[in-house]
Subunit: 381 residues, 2 copies
């Protein structure tokens, strides 16, 4: 097991009716900026619950943080924070709203431009405290430090790290009215988050392996229930909790991690606006196949424990395991080939070129260069 | 899934050589009381590492916190804290040292006697901050709020809750020299902690079930390695991490819990000084058997997923699962019957009488009364 330091101070407030607790959790006397997405929270009752709980607080609203939050939008919120002396941020919505809010919170306390902060972590100079009401289970942003920010002008998309949310409120009932496509992408995103932390080598941290497999098994079991009835409270609660636990560090103690699928997927999204979770299911099967020599033993462990695959030669079992994984993604209603998504070879070529120019090396052993990325993408045309 | 609020702010610092980080983690300018047990840390190099890291800090040492920490001992440390203006506590040792330190930290900031604090949680009035260097994987105390305190004068043993340790440093190398009996009891303690949180009803929190089963599977797999070679770093690290994750709230989100085995086991320890973990393996098989009507479905799930038991009638599978559990405890070298431990019927009778007098009702449904406790103990004579 690798040495590690783990600390996750976020207070997770989970369950029916918990949004009302906002009034207890928000710091009294604060100047609060409440950040929102496009307005779906006005249709599902979340906005009413939030504003009811905010009665008596000094707050204003900022609307319009889009999926794959754009720095151009976030800069406007940063200006408001500085102008009005905002000292607490509350994100209400999905992972994109919270991701964007993490950057707003950090950019509000420095003179640096928000995109410079994303590009150069050394410029980070602290943050306003922030919290969330999370309505879309997928990114785990509600209980981690990470955010992914896009730049419209440059077509770039990068990770940014702030501190943890002070608290996050998750009421599974807020997910009942999500578009089924977003739910499918959220299930896929959760699944791949776990795979990125898990699918490296065997025998490093056996307990973390079991916990990662446990999230995967849970997602596989609950996905059909979720897709059959999005108002099944227990199913949606299980999905929601799995999404949080899939990327809050709980399954990452003492293990190496991969994240090649995410890095390649981010480029697809940056260039085509394909939903993040969907981009991952396109990439992952090919990462498994192309990296089978390095990851073979772990793929077999995953195949056996999660899919019950025990028959066949070493390579046959790997093939079956990759096929089961891709079939699961397709069972969510998600296409897994670029051509099915009308994304052509020129996008793949542009992504390869970007990795070539940057010289980035991906994967747990930093050995996935642009030529390997090319192999991976060529498999998915 | 039940509603829940989860927050665990402890910083977990895990791995080889991490004790040296103490000098970075301890608050500068504090007056520190370092608490110890009986002196084993002077034989295994831990004391040297701790004092090296404490160079330049203003600290004093308090020795002699015993297994099943006695309030009589802890009161002496409370006096020192008050007399010398101690403002930070560092526990170095096993779960008992840290448990005792949690009570010292709370009693140091109030005028109430320490035992009154244990008996009446309403008298809790805050705490000195505290942290630990944990050297015996078992109780999970390094990452939870709980402590168990004994009273020599009254022969009582109760749980006490403070806040979380600020940080806990776990270097698996510190466990290499533990007495094998303590290791066996620690493995058993971890196993039963998980069972207490898991063995209630099915289909409440599927992800938590998977994670609980994951800890159990990990302990079952690693136990023979640990017992074969206590200097196997990876095995000891896996055991140590499992002990922490078994009782830090990570597997308890949204689930009911039992704890009847612990409540009965505590009485055995209070009356006979049998090591805590050992008392649990005596009690658990009988709790499973006597409560089989209520817990049957979950026992079957546990039997199937953890032990691979799928053949036989409903009751046969329950019997096999209980037998596998008891056999695992015996494989640790632990006797599972009171008679094997020279504990007679009179102890069982006294425990039943205590539960009768207190009117305590145990278990996830608060339906285990003293008559059921009698049935449970009579099975274990």
């Amino acid at each position: 097991m690798n040495n590690f330091i783990f600390q996750n101070p976020t207070k997770l407030i989970f369950g029916k009716g918990q949004i009302a607790r906002l009034s207890k959790e928000l710091p009294k006397g604060s100047k609060i900026l409440v950040t929102f997405g496009g307005g779906s929270v006005k249709k599902n009752g979340v906005y009413e619950q939030v504003t009811a709980a905010l009665e008596g607080f000094d707050y204003q609203e900022f609307w319009g943080i889009e999926p794959n939050p754009k720095v151009e939008t976030l800069r406007k919120a940063v200006e408001i924070c500085k102008r009005d002396g905002v000292d607490f941020l509350l994100a209400v919505g999905g992972g994109s709203v919270l991701d964007g809010t993490k950057l707003i919170a950090a950019a509000a306390v420095v003179d640096t431009d928000a995109w410079e902060l994303v590009c150069n972590p050394k410029l980070y100079g602290g943050t306003l405290p922030f919290a969330s009401v999370m309505t879309l289970p997928a990114t785990g942003s509600e209980m981690n430090r990470g955010a992914v920010i896009s730049n419209l002008a440059t077509g770039e998309k990068y990770a940014f790290y702030n501190t943890y949310p002070q608290f996050s409120i998750l009421d599974p009932q807020t997910t009942f009215s999500l578009p089924p496509y977003q739910v499918a992408c959220g299930l896929a995103d959760t699944f791949v988050h776990v795979m990125e932390q898990y699918l490296t080598a065997t025998d490093i941290a056996p307990l973390m392996d079991r916990w990662a497999e446990g999230v995967l098994q849970t997602i596989i079991e609950v996905a059909p229930k979720v897709r059959a009835d999005q108002t099944d409270y227990d199913a949606m609660a299980t999905y929601m909790l799995s999404a949080t636990m899939g990327l809050n560090g709980f399954i990452a103690m003492g293990v190496p991690q991969d994240w090649a699928t995410h890095m390649i997927g981010h480029e697809i999204t940056a260039l085509t606006a394909l939903t993040h979770g969907h981009s991952l299911v396109v990439v992952l099967p090919a990462v498994m196949d192309v990296m089978r020599e390095q990851k073979g033993d772990k793929i077999l462990q995953y195949g056996q424990r999660v899919w019950g695959i025990t028959e066949g030669s070493y390579d046959e079992r790997i093939d079956k395991t990759i096929a089961a994984t891709e079939e699961f993604f397709r069972s969510l209603g998600l296409q897994t080939r670029l051509s099915e998504l009308n994304i052509g070879k020129e996008v793949a070529e542009q992504i390869v070129l970007r990795f070539k120019e940057r010289g980035t090396l991906l994967g747990e052993n930093s050995n996935i260069d642009y030529l390997t990325v090319e192999k991976i993408l060529n498999q998915r045309l």
